[in-house]
């Protein structure tokens, strides 16, 4: 039996003590503000900690007649612990890490901030109406061997992997731990089934489906969903400044026409249809075809914030019906 237990008090005190080193996501804070210290540093999304909305890669300066390039290296004492929900953790571990932390060509900015940060996953007691994590291989109790897992259980926290990583002294209660495991297993059985086997391949075969046109109609092509998505990692490199300036690494979005616009003014994704299709395909076909995991964790944030109720779950379910016809 892997899981042990700690008291609310223990977790609370630990977080108070490590305060400057602990960051919590807004969604985790909202869910567990009654159990955790209220004034932890919060971030809107987990990804922005590692994949900054913007950062300078290097500075260029014209000195006399030569250009001098100085790499920007951040030396910040960065938080060591990130408290987040299972879907947010899955997004980091199985999507953004996979993209940025490749061995041959690591994205150094991301890697520097990411290394040495321990993820503390707090499982979900309650499932929101926008959640659909069970469709994409996630669950309210999704755990990962490299991360700590906490789950509120009858006045205590169920804890996995926290003994060493957080130096907490948990107590054992095999019977209670068994009850937790059973609860997890039973709850998962009640959740919607995962997407069909080989959905990425099947969806890819429906690239030219006329349904895309219909589904894209009311999307306004803003970047809200991509920017607040925990997995969306597309970025741009741009310059800021003439004779001296910075080369910037900034968030970018496949929803913007400029994202793929050629200098010749040709655009391979000229309308909303192509861009919406790219967003869905990238998450549900291209990314899993390359990296085995879905590029969506089913957190439902995009469904919640979309100004026109463009709903990725609905679209994916529509495509499931289409591919299974």
């Amino acid at each position: 039996m892997k899981g042990k237990f700690v008291t609310h008090e223990q977790v609370f005190t630990w977080m108070e003590r490590e305060r400057g080193l602990v960051v919590i996501t807004e969604r985790a804070q909202k869910k567990y503000h009654h159990l955790l210290p209220s004034h932890l540093i919060t971030v809107k999304t987990a990804k922005e900690l590692f994949f900054s909305p913007w950062e300078a890669v290097y500075r260029y300066t014209l000195q006399g007649k030569t250009w001098v390039i100085e790499e920007k290296v951040e030396h910040s004492s960065f938080p060591s612990f990130l408290v987040l929900l299972p879907c947010e953790a899955k997004a980091i571990l199985e999507v953004t890490d996979v993209n940025f932390m490749t061995e041959d060509t690591p994205d150094l900015g991301y890697a520097r901030r990411r290394r040495g940060v321990t993820l503390i996953i707090v499982g979900c007691e309650r499932i929101e109406q926008t959640c659909f994590c069970s469709l994409v291989g996630c669950s309210p109790f999704w755990r990962h061997r490299e991360s700590v897992f906490l789950f509120p259980w009858k006045g205590h926290f169920y804890l996995e992997d926290g003994e060493e990583k957080l130096s907490l002294s948990p107590f054992e209660d095999p019977q209670k731990a068994q009850a937790v495991e059973t609860f997890f297993a039973e709850t998962i059985c009640t959740l919607p089934l995962p997407l069909p086997a080989n959905f990425p391949e099947k969806l890819y075969a429906h690239f030219d489906d006329p349904l895309w046109q219909k589904m894209a109609w009311h999307c306004v092509n803003c970047g809200a969903c991509t920017y607040l998505c925990p997995t969306c990692y597309c970025f741009d490199l741009s310059v800021d400044g003439k004779l001296r300036g910075l080369t910037l690494h900034t968030w970018d979005s496949c929803m913007f026409p400029k994202f793929t616009l050629h200098a010749s003014s040709h655009n391979p994704r000229p309308t909303g249809k192509e861009r919406v299709r790219q967003r869905v395909m990238h998450k549900f076909s291209y990314f899993p075809l390359r990296n085995k995991y879905y590029g969506c964790v089913g957190c439902g944030v995009c469904r919640e914030i979309c100004p026109v109720n463009w709903d990725i779950k609905e679209v994916v379910e529509g495509m499931v019906r289409q591919v299974e016809r």
Binding site: P53, W54, Q129, H218, T271, R303, D311
Partner: protein, 312 residues
């Protein structure tokens, strides 16, 4: 709301128009979404209620729609937007059929959540200007979106058909809820502090711009590269520059529909800037955008005998 009138009208005009841009129930409770009704069987989907938030005028500007004669469901603010688009030559009058929807204002989900916690649709029974929650009665006016709280035009100033009766002008709200007034009342440094803080949050997703039917430039100034007007870095100053630029570009054109503000995923009260600009326009030119087709727009009209020298 208006379902019967809508279906009757839609059955009558579909065919005469190639499509009806309206609202259909969304995928989540308390959400309505833009819907393009093109076939007989779509008509049943058309509906309208206190959650028909998006300004549909935006959809008139898609390439596909520009070529067609379409009908569009409009609230007061949306109709004003269509009039601005007509004046600016973006849409053709002969291609349009306006279905006016007298509007009691849109209800804010976050204000409902603030009062009732986690929302469950069966708890609510909706009527025109009141609703009940678990049997208890509340006034719609107490839960309106900010933009609707300040609205003075519940009825479309121009329409081809009206669903229901015109509504009386809503009463002027007590000062406490006039949030532009509250900001204006602050000393200058406090005002700056407020905006600095809000601008810090902006991630430049452009949900505000893309939701606005009057932000239709083929290439927005933020995307231009020759020259490049602002940095890609979403810093406070660059963000402010974008929002100020946008507000100034909207001067005398904004119909105060609040689409930009409601679109913001970070809850920045971004409508304040265009709202203030419109207040100045009212003050200096006694003009409100989109009230009729004839009054020339003050900032888009050139006159040789303009009293101001700088323009001559």
């Amino acid at each position: 709301m208006y379902e019967r009138a809508l279906t009757e009208l839609a059955s009558k005009i579909l065919g005469e128009v190639e499509g009806i841009i309206g609202y259909a129930p969304g995928s989540l409770p308390f959400h309505m979404r833009p819907f393009l009704c093109q076939r007989e069987e779509d008509i049943a989907c058309l509906s309208f209620n206190h959650f028909a938030r998006p300004n549909l005028a935006r959809y008139l500007l898609t390439l596909e729609m520009r070529k067609k004669r379409v009908a569009i469901v409009v609230k007061g603010c949306d109709a004003r937007t269509v009039i601005v688009l007509l004046k600016e030559g973006q849409v053709k009058r002969e291609n349009l059929y306006l279905i006016g929807a007298p509007c009691h204002g849109m209800v804010s989900v976050s204000k409902l959540e603030e009062r009732f916690g986690v929302l469950s649709p069966p708890d609510f029974v909706w009527e025109a200007d009141t609703f009940t929650w678990r049997g208890e009665r509340f006034a719609i006016r107490d839960f309106l979106e900010d933009s609707c709280e300040r609205c003075a035009y519940p009825n479309p100033p121009w329409y081809d058909a009206l669903l229901g009766e015109e509504l009386p002008k809503p009463p002027v709200l007590p000062g406490g809820r006039d949030y532009l007034g509250r900001i204006k009342a602050l000393p200058l440094e406090k005002r700056w502090e407020f905006f600095a803080q809000e601008m810090e949050k902006c991630i430049r997703c452009y949900a505000c711009r893309n939701s606005c039917p009057l932000c239709y430039c083929t290439e927005c100034f933020v995307d231009q590269t020759r020259p490049s007007w602002l940095s890609q870095a979403a810093t406070r100053n660059e963000n402010l520059f974008f929002h100020l630029g946008r507000s100034l570009h909207m001067a005398g054109r904004c119909t105060e529909c609040g689409a930009c503000e409601r679109a913001c995923p970070l809850g920045i009260p971004i409508g304040l800037l265009p709202l203030y600009v419109e207040e100045l326009i009212r003050e200096h030119f006694a003009f409100e955008a989109g009230m009729n087709l004839d009054t020339p727009a003050p900032l888009l009209t050139y006159r040789e005998n303009d009293p101001n020298e700088f323009i001559r």
